[in-house]
């Protein structure tokens, strides 16, 4: 299916963009985008660099505002919401940033405990139990006292995931989760994302240009090209697409005219 039509919302939509346009200077990074991302599944948004994938995530969280259109996340109209409602909405979401955005001066334990202490005001005994649970979930038991800069890239990513799901969100957004990681570490992060989504049953939205990673974790997939959602559907349908531009991206064909 192509961009001008909204995706079928057979299940309830965790994120819905209707006629969304976002420009930077004169350039429309997203141009009249319509898409509905189903709840309870892992949706991967693919696309070359600069096609608006990160912009789409930031619009869904209210970190950026659109020039036109409506963005509904977990049923809330993000840009009609007042600040307290927006903060409340964000507490129902988690986000794993490309560079992890861990607090460098805090230990791994304190990074994961941060939202529990500062947002949920969880009693300290429960904080310890929950952080230990999360460390075990991401395979980092015993790493709690380390500082983030004493960890490998893959371990930092695991800590960021643990922090993102600490408040038991309904929706977790991943911005290039395997960017800058070696293939084996990337595969382990992919497996962790897949296993965590299966275990928690919540909505994961992943943006990446890593096709192998997408093939492993996606239930649904979309391809962004030229500021539009060029194709969107379940993974099998997208991967079977015969659209030449979809095939060129999935088969990693270099663009016409690229130097050899």
């Amino acid at each position: 299916m192509t961009s001008s039509m909204p995706a079928p919302a057979a299940r309830s939509a965790a994120i819905e963009l209707v006629g969304v346009t976002r420009r930077f200077s004169a350039r429309a990074v997203l141009d009249d985008v319509n898409v509905a991302i189903a709840a309870g599944r892992t949706t991967v948004l693919l696309g070359p660099s600069g096609t608006g994938k990160s912009t789409l995530l930031r619009l869904a969280t209210g970190l950026l505002s659109p020039d036109a259109g409506v963005v509904r996340t977990l049923g809330v109209d993000v840009f009609a919401a007042k600040k307290p409602s927006l903060l409340q909405l964000r507490r129902r979401m988690g986000m794993l940033f490309q560079d992890n955005a861990l607090f460098g001066s805090l230990s791994v334990f304190d990074n994961i405990a941060f939202p529990l202490r500062r947002v949920a005001r969880t009693p300290e005994a429960d904080v310890r139990r929950r952080v230990d649970e999360l460390l075990a979930l991401v395979g980092l038991s015993g790493f709690g006292e380390r500082l983030p800069d004493r960890l490998s890239g893959g371990q930092r990513k695991r800590v960021a995931l643990a922090r993102a799901i600490a408040l038991e969100p309904e929706l977790v957004l991943f911005d290039e989760p395997t960017s800058g990681l070696d293939p084996q570490t990337s595969a382990s992060i992919d497996q962790l994302i897949r296993a965590t989504q299966r275990r928690l049953g919540i909505t994961f939205v992943v943006i990446t240009h890593d096709i192998e990673s997408a093939a492993l974790i996606a239930d649904d997939a979309g391809l962004l090209l030229d500021g539009k959602v060029h194709v969107f559907g379940d993974r099998a349908t997208v991967w079977a697409s015969t659209d030449p531009r979809v095939r060129a991206f999935l088969d990693r064909a270099p663009p016409a005219g690229a130097p050899r």
Binding site: L63, L87, F97, A101, R118
Partner: protein
Amino acid sequence: MTTTWMRWLSATMATPLRFVAFVARAAAAALRGMPAIDVALLTSRLLVRSLPIVVVVNFFCGAMLTVQAAASLQIFGAASMSGVIVGFGGVREVFPLLAGGALAARSGAEIASQLQAMRVTRQIEALAMMGLDPLALLVAPRLLACVFGAPLCVLAAMLAGLFGAQAVGTLQLGIDGGTMWAALLSGVSRFDVVVGAVRGVLLGVLVGGVATFEGFASGDNDAASVGRAAHHAVIRGMVVVCAACLLLSWLIYGRHA
């Protein structure tokens, strides 16, 4: 012609207006309340980092002012009265001004670079994504720390300047200790000390406001922006400190000289 002027005026006033709105929002967030422990820790850190430089700079400045005052009063055979000039001009003007400058250079630069580094590494977005208000969590406590810390820096600057003058007056110029100290204090009134503390609060708002504005609200995301934020916090911080001191002097001492 009118349009050109309007365009120039709006371009010139855009940043100052943004600055005022930013400080007002941070002050409103501070009034809504925040963990006292955060403010206490940040204030003590500001004092630990800034007080030593404030004291050293003002001690030497008091000493230098005394040397120059003595040199000029020597002509009239009144070198022993050099303390009056240092006490008068130093406590009212020079020492608070230097305290504000040292605060901007030490703590202003630190606050701006810290916040901008958090911006570049997306830590501020991460806080926002947890449903927290980064302005209330990061900016308001730093602004309050400056407001609480700056008056102490100004008062410490006054004392350090007077001790610097006393040291040079007695040890180098050979003025009697009691005469020197009496001359220094004769130029200082209780009103001057109160004005110094009030001036400290204003300098705290300005230095803290400029530092947090440069670090938090620049909108840049590149690595070089961390250095730029620190640089702007120092330069712009010092300019507003000078302008505020001039304005206060005119308002207070221009009428009560």
